[in-house]
């Protein structure tokens, strides 16, 4: 018990993770390779315009989801610049990978490959232990910093809120509602597709035999296949059917019905066994 309590305490006392310049510090200029392989210096080019700068240390599905949400926000904010930097030791590999990544993510901002390897620009002091380092800056001064070790759904809303604050925007419930509806529409599309696949009329199976057209026999057969029937009740219903079906026509309907039920496997295991026996006895 003491050990668990100590472990819990220690886990809560862990130092916060830092990566990159902190709020109020400068964002020094640095170069990246763009998708055409040219060296570009976005921060100098943007002359202090409000910017979102993301360093991708490790690309995972959750980190991609955070990136997608941030990029959607960039698309909604006029004048907001965005730079997404792929970090990695193998610059050539990253350079080859970047166009593929862009074709999937379709970033509105600039996607670049770090020319400084996995550590990123030296002046930034990035932490390799995180998955994403996200900075927002205005006038080349950091207005927010997030060092994310395990990205989740809650990350993007906090960052987009801080971006809006940096841009001097007031919260806009209508815009939030539109964003929520857009998300919902995307999810509904997935669901509708699934449902459509399930709903697509399936060609009706060709089944042997037939349900009895005689109402009494049909009723008896329905009683026979009820899943709550006891073995004795199944025997009782079979006897009622025998007693009722005295003419050749009715006997034929009984056998046709059994052939159908054998195929459909309706009824309890005992009922299915009896149905099978009856079919075999009738040479079916």
């Amino acid at each position: 018990m003491t050990t668990i309590a100590l472990a819990l305490l220690l886990s809560q006392m862990q130092d916060p993770v830092f990566s990159g310049p902190q709020k109020g510090e400068k964002t020094p200029a640095f170069k990246v390779l763009d998708l055409q392989g040219r060296e570009v210096d976005c921060l100098t080019e943007w002359k202090g315009a409000p910017a979102l700068i993301v360093f991708i240390h490790e690309l995972t599905r959750p980190s991609a989801q955070v990136l997608r949400k941030l990029d959607e926000h960039v698309g909604r904010r006029e004048g907001l610049k965005a730079l997404i930097v792929l970090l990695g030791d193998d610059i050539n590999k990253n350079e080859r990978y970047a166009p593929l990544f862009q074709s999937i993510m379709k970033f509105r901002g600039v996607l670049g490959t770090s020319v400084d390897g996995k550590e990123g620009p030296g002046a930034y002091g990035l932490n390799r232990a995180v998955q994403l380092t996200i900075l927002i800056a205005k006038d080349n001064v950091v207005a927010g910093n997030w060092a994310i070790t395990s990205p989740s759904d809650t990350d993007a809303p906090a960052i987009t809120k801080a971006i809006d604050e940096m841009l001097g925007m007031k919260p806009n419930p209508l815009e939030d509602r539109v964003a929520a509806l857009e998300k919902e529409v995307r999810e509904l599309r997935v669901l509708v597709e699934e449902l459509r696949r399930g709903q697509a009329p399936k060609p009706e199976r060709k089944l042997p035999g037939a349900a009895p057209t005689d109402a009494t026999l049909n009723g008896l057969m329905r009683r026979l296949i009820r899943p709550e029937r006891t073995d004795a009740e199944v025997d009782g219903v079979l006897k009622e059917m025998d007693d009722y079906a005295k003419t050749d026509e009715l006997k034929k309907q009984v056998i046709d019905g059994f052939v159908l039920l054998r195929e459909l496997k309706y009824g309890t295991e005992y009922a299915q066994k009896k149905i099978k026996e009856r079919c075999e006895a009738a040479g079916k």
Binding site: P173, D176, R177, A180, L181, E184, E187, L188, V190, L191, V192, E194, L195, R196, G198, Q199, P201, K202, E204, R205, L207, A210, A211, A215, N218, G219, R222, I225, R226, P227, E228, L260, L264, K265, Y266, G267
Partner: protein, 341 residues
């Protein structure tokens, strides 16, 4: 000729309806252990609750192996989706409301805490559910003990009308099982439905006039307004917007397709919605249409030889629920042990 027309316009004989339900239930029962979740993210969906509700209405005993397995799966899963919580509540109330009253209260708590601030419901987010303790029955009666629910939080700002109608279906099942729902829940919902009516007298999925009115959503409004008004002790039959919705349905009536849609994906969903609207409002006719006779005739024609409707679990459930007229009318109900009302 007139005699022939009269026969053609009548509902199918009860014996034929019972046969259709029995064959449909037999098919559904074979599917009950093959149900797999589908969809993605917040929209992950499963059929267990809907199948359980349907089989219960098809009078398949709760002690049969697959019903037992379904009940176990449903009652031992976390409650985290509006549709599923609502269908679960309706199913458990049908099966044995006294035995499952505490679980019904949890479903109700989930629904109350997930109501959107605008009165709708969305797909729902898991909430921390209290463990309810059994109350004491009123001495000398068989009435179930009352279990009051309080709102602890709100859902998102807004939702949709489909989730909203199912949430009220679930809450109704809870109320009938002596779970007390705050009036405010029904009041907020009623406000939403009243405000969301289109100028043509119909309703759409989200509520804004940007989308055309649909049969399924207008039926949702009629049944939801009926439930809200009933529990708020207003005369649900006298409500003008409810009547306007029924008029819209009557004017656009079809049992073949969901009025206002063309893709055919929601036709059975619409039929079950129509059944709820007409049963809850309490009418045999919608406009000039005998809604049950027309729907039942169509369903009997469309049933496949294996008993299913298009070999599809959801369609078969909605068809059986329609044929069984599964929704109890709104009338004075007293939740008693072992009884339905």
């Amino acid at each position: 000729m007139i005699l022939l027309l009269t026969v053609l316009l009548q509902a199918p004989p009860q014996e034929d309806v019972d046969a259709a339900v029995d064959w449909g239930a037999a098919w559904l029962y074979t599917q009950a252990d093959k149900l797999a979740p589908f969809g993605a993210g917040d929209r992950q969906w499963r059929y267990d609750e809907l199948v359980l509700l349907t089989l219960a209405h098809a009078r398949i005993g709760a002690e049969t192996p697959k019903m037992k397995a379904l009940i176990k799966a449903v009652t031992e899963s976390p409650i985290e989706r509006t549709y599923l919580a609502s269908l679960q509540a309706a199913a458990l109330a049908k099966i044995d409301r006294a035995k499952w009253q505490l679980r019904l209260a949890q479903c109700a708590q989930f629904l109350v805490d997930n109501q959107c601030r605008n009165g709708q419901w969305s797909y729902g987010l898991e909430v921390r559910l209290p463990v309810f303790t059994p109350g004491r029955p009123k001495p000398g009666t068989t009435e179930l003990p009352r279990l009051p629910i309080r709102r602890r939080e709100w859902g998102p700002e807004a939702g949709d009308n489909s989730n909203a109608q199912y949430a009220l279906l679930g809450l109704r099942a809870a109320v009938e099982s002596a779970v007390e729902i705050p009036d405010e829940v029904f009041r907020k919902s009623r406000e939403w439905w009243e405000g969301a009516m289109h100028s043509d007298g119909g309703w759409a999925y989200l509520g804004a006039d940007i989308a055309p009115s649909r049969g399924s959503m207008t039926a949702a409004a009629v049944s939801s307004l009926s439930i809200c008004n009933h529990y708020l002790k207003a005369d649900h039959k006298a409500d003008l917007k409810t009547k306007r919705g029924l008029k819209w349905i009557g004017e656009h009536f079809s049992v073949d397709t969901n009025p206002g849609t063309r893709d055919g994906n929601t036709d059975y969903y619409w039929l079950y919605g129509l059944e709820r609207a007409a049963m809850l409002y309490g009418t045999d006719r919608v406009g000039s249409h005998d809604w049950y006779a027309e729907g039942a005739r169509m369903l009997l024609q469309r049933q496949q030889r294996d008993g299913s409707w298009s070999g599809n679990v959801q369609n078969t459930c909605f068809a059986i629920l329609f044929l069984r007229r599964a929704t109890e009318p709104l009338e004075k109900m007293t939740a008693t042990e072992g009884g339905k009302k």
